[in-house]
Subunit: 259 residues, 2 copies
DNA sequence: GCCTAGGTCCCGTAT
DNA sequence: ATACGGGGCCTAGGC
């Protein structure tokens, strides 16, 4: 019907909506449903929500969200991994979501379905936290204290794997240092990379691996080789990013009165 | 168009979608939009999400949710109280959500809008939640038989970790007992807590850990230390309050194994 | 306004 | 499997 859409129905009969949901669940689609329904929850706690108009979202991984008119948080939910069952009973459309451990149940009872749609979303993008690539190294270049207090950057390698370390520098005691930076958790491979750089150098160098976190095994090898781990505070680093571009975009819109 | 619906559009031009969003925001409607877009966030932290098909929800209180194919949690969001601005810029539809305190920005950049709908949800129902914290202990205080038949409560500790057990009491045989209560599955930490209370007492006391369930390892340690586990029947306990979440419908449905 | 505690927290990693 | 810590946690209540 629509590109990437499985379909959409307006004011379906409850039987139709039930079939639609069941086939969408089987087809691993994301379901969005606006309707008049009540909700019961039973598990670690229990809750009851009377009849009202809300939005129900069911994802392909079995997660369920019930959203009311307002509020960031869903009023009722079920995390991923639940089993969804759906069907008409006593003139109402029932959707039951069961979680195995801990044992929890979410029951949605529809009086009316206004709109229901299911889609297969294509979304391969990686979610990156912290400043983006370029910005990231620029920030560290400008603020080496986020790697280590008293550090001065001497050289920087822009492009990727080339046998040249991300940074070289001089620490507060005058030692030359080779720095390997990771934007996410460092593993054994990160240590190996640093180690390659270190071995390709002559003279005395300190080796620093700088990342938001590090696996136990990687830290073990790192220590054994006599290198240092420096924890990188992504959140603090993010705070260095200027708000300006955002504010400008917003301002421009305001001046021009929206679209 | 639809009952309670402000409208719906399929494959609108970005300009049309922008106008639609702006009028919906002004009209305090809930907006759901399925499209191809990227997301940037900047504030307490920062994040970047490349192009992909997702669901955007904007509520009348200014809360914003971006949901991907899977996962209970929104990949990006903005809590209630944000200012929404929207318009076309450089051939893309931009939606900016600004939070004042803390200063945070969420930027959604649409390449395509597949479906957009806005609705005024009528929902006056009260959300009732089952026994929570205080209420829970109130119930047990009033009905110690749900911990153990013949038990009488002697003392109760309201506030949290203080070296004082949840309850002390006297059992049907006249033994003094120390009772640690958990609302959800008890773990090793629960046993440790009970153990601390027991060791800080002089004289002969029975130790009782009372919870809906207990982990294998915790039960092992508990037994080894000579304490008792008492299964707490949440269902029965809940039936004591005005709101009865464990009513027939859900149970019946479960017994019958769904539709 | 700031701070604290609770949550059906959820979600990851380590054990 | 369970235990533990972090989160842009969010939210409500206290001061």
């Amino acid at each position: 019907m629509l590109c990437h859409m499985n379909g959409i129905m307006f004011y379906p009969l409850l039987e139709e909506a039930g079939d639609f949901i069941n086939s969408s669940v089987r087809g691993k689609k994301l379901i969005i449903c606006i309707g008049l329904f009540s909700v019961e929850y039973l598990g670690r706690s229990s809750s009851n929500l009377g009849l009202g108009e809300r939005v129900l979202m069911v994802k392909e991984d079995g997660s369920v969200l019930v959203h009311r008119r307002v509020g960031y948080e869903p009023v009722n939910w079920q995390p991923a991994g639940c089993i969804i069952r759906c069907g008409v009973r006593d003139g109402k459309l029932l959707l039951l979501s069961e979680r195995r451990r801990p044992k929890e149940f979410l029951k949605v009872v529809f009086d009316k379905v206004y709109l229901i749609t299911s889609t297969s979303l294509v979304d391969e993008a990686r979610f990156e936290i912290g400043p983006v690539e370029n910005e990231f190294y620029d920030l560290l270049m400008a603020h080496p204290e986020y790697i280590e207090e008293g550090l001065r950057i001497v050289s920087r390698q822009k492009s990727m794997p080339s046998g040249i370390p991300d940074f070289t520098g001089k620490d507060s005691k005058g030692n030359y240092v080779i720095i390997e930076v990771k934007r996410s958790m460092a593993g054994v491979d990160s240590v190996k990379q640093l180690d390659r750089y270190m071995k390709s150098q002559r003279g005395h160098f300190r080796g620093i691996l700088c990342a938001p976190s590090i696996t136990k095994s990687a830290l073990l090898i790192l220590k054994k080789k006599g290198y240092d781990f420096r924890r990188l505070n992504l959140k603090a680093l993010s705070s260095l990013v200027a708000f300006k571009p955002y504010e400008e975009t917003l301002d421009r819109h305001l001046e021009e009165g929206g679209s």
